[in-house]
């Protein structure tokens, strides 16, 4: 039976996105793209569980994925991944310690995933792939630093402004309690801010 999913088309999307970071010779790009396999998840499926040692790089084709952890009995949403973005178990990969955060689908979700060891092997084989990997990690880290900066130095209102500017599409897709948690404010404060702005 013909699959409803066209993996070549999805890999093509990966190619377009990573080309912003680095340009690879065709042969290397194809080897890179061929590492990505299709995975389909229903709503509320856990893609990355706490304390997982199996590692993959995920590319979100369609759907939404929430990254959260529990602290003091409360769930804290640290990020919401949308179409065309990458995610991985960075805590385990970069600290060598077991992660305590989860990645869970918020709606039926399609991803491409590549085994991290195979990506490392390809990076060891080709300098250009290693370069692209370094640039991708730098970008990922820069985003972490920016969100850390925003959390430290911006007021709740300013953080909401940034959110509206950069992630407006989420406002209609995601329950407000998750957005409030992501912004580090209560849902009530978020509602007040929203009504003030409109």
């Amino acid at each position: 039976m013909r699959s409803a999913h066209n993996i070549s088309e999805y890999r093509e999307r990966v190619r377009k996105i990573v080309q912003y970071t680095a340009v690879l010779p065709d042969e290397q790009m194809n080897e890179f793209l061929n590492l990505f396999q299709l995975e389909v998840f229903p709503k509320n499926a856990i893609i990355i569980t706490p304390k997982t040692k199996k590692n993959k790089l995920y590319f979100l084709v369609s759907g939404l994925v929430r990254n959260y952890y529990e602290a003091e009995g409360k769930e804290i949403t640290s990020d919401i991944k949308e179409e065309n973005s990458f995610f991985l178990n960075g805590y385990y990969l970069y600290t060598g310690l077991l992660n305590f955060d989860s990645y869970v689908t918020m709606m039926p979700t399609v991803v491409l995933s590549a085994d991290y060891d195979e990506l490392e092997a390809l990076s060891a084989k080709y300098h250009e792939v290693e370069h692209m990997g370094r640039k991708m990690v730098e970008l990922h880290y820069a985003n972490f630093l920016i969100s850390n900066y925003n959390q430290l130095f911006l007021s709740a209102e300013e953080r909401f402004d940034v959110f509206q500017r950069e992630r407006a599409s989420l406002l209609n897709k995601v329950s407000l309690k998750y957005i409030a948690s992501y912004l580090g404010i209560t849902p009530e404060t978020l509602s007040r801010m929203r009504s003030k702005k409109t």
Partner: protein, 199 residues
């Protein structure tokens, strides 16, 4: 040999040892070429190495001494990190985003650093595959340390953070004013004194 830095070869040797431990597959000749581009600078105790509001592309290796990294929020200094000998630091926020750096880097002992422009490191990454790998591992390590610190504040009690700190940095208890250590741990100086007495 540059005048005033009689131990520069020893410092570069230690830097190359550190970078090789991060990169693992590095070639000794390539490493020697890279560390020769790191230049020594001296900072006196209490001298600022880099201030908030400045743009910077410089990466540092502490050869001797001790550096405190802190930011100022609502008029208060918050100490984020202590970087002692044989450790590296860099204003990664400024380097990677192009924005002004928001932290202050202060020598809290007489300090000698080896420093390099990040662009020079990147030219080595472009030239040598193994160096590019080391460059990625360096960023990953930096990222991991930062993530761990963020989560330690959330998941560990003040006592646990203190015992972790003295496990890794017992020497700092005698080198750093207690108010900086208290700020680093996110506790008051009184709480820190009580913990010290207990342990």
């Amino acid at each position: 040999m540059k005048k005033g830095f009689k131990d520069i070869e020893i410092y570069r040797e230690r830097l190359s040892h550190y970078l090789s431990s991060i990169g693992q597959k590095t070639d000794p000749d390539e490493m020697k070429e890279l560390v020769n581009h790191f230049m020594p600078y001296k900072f006196s105790k209490k001298e600022m190495i880099l201030s908030a509001g400045q743009h910077s592309n410089t990466a540092y290796f502490v050869a001797e001494g001790l550096v405190r990294i802190y930011y100022v929020k609502e008029g208060k200094e918050i100490t984020n990190w202590f970087i002692k000998e044989n450790m590296v630091f860099a204003p990664t926020y400024s380097i990677l985003t192009g924005e002004a750096n928001y932290s202050n880097y202060e020598a809290i002992e007489d300090t000698i650093v080896l420093q390099i422009q990040y662009a020079v490191m990147e030219s080595f990454y472009a030239k040598y595959h193994n160096m590019e790998h080391m460059g990625r591992k360096l960023i990953e390590a930096y990222y991991g340390i930062f993530m761990k610190k963020t989560f330690d504040v959330l998941f560990l009690s003040a006592e646990e953070r203190y015992s972790l700190f003295i496990r890794d940095n017992e020497d700092l208890l005698n080198r750093v004013p207690l108010r900086y250590i208290a700020s680093y741990l996110g506790i008051t100086q009184e709480t820190l004194s009580r913990m010290r007495a207990k342990y």
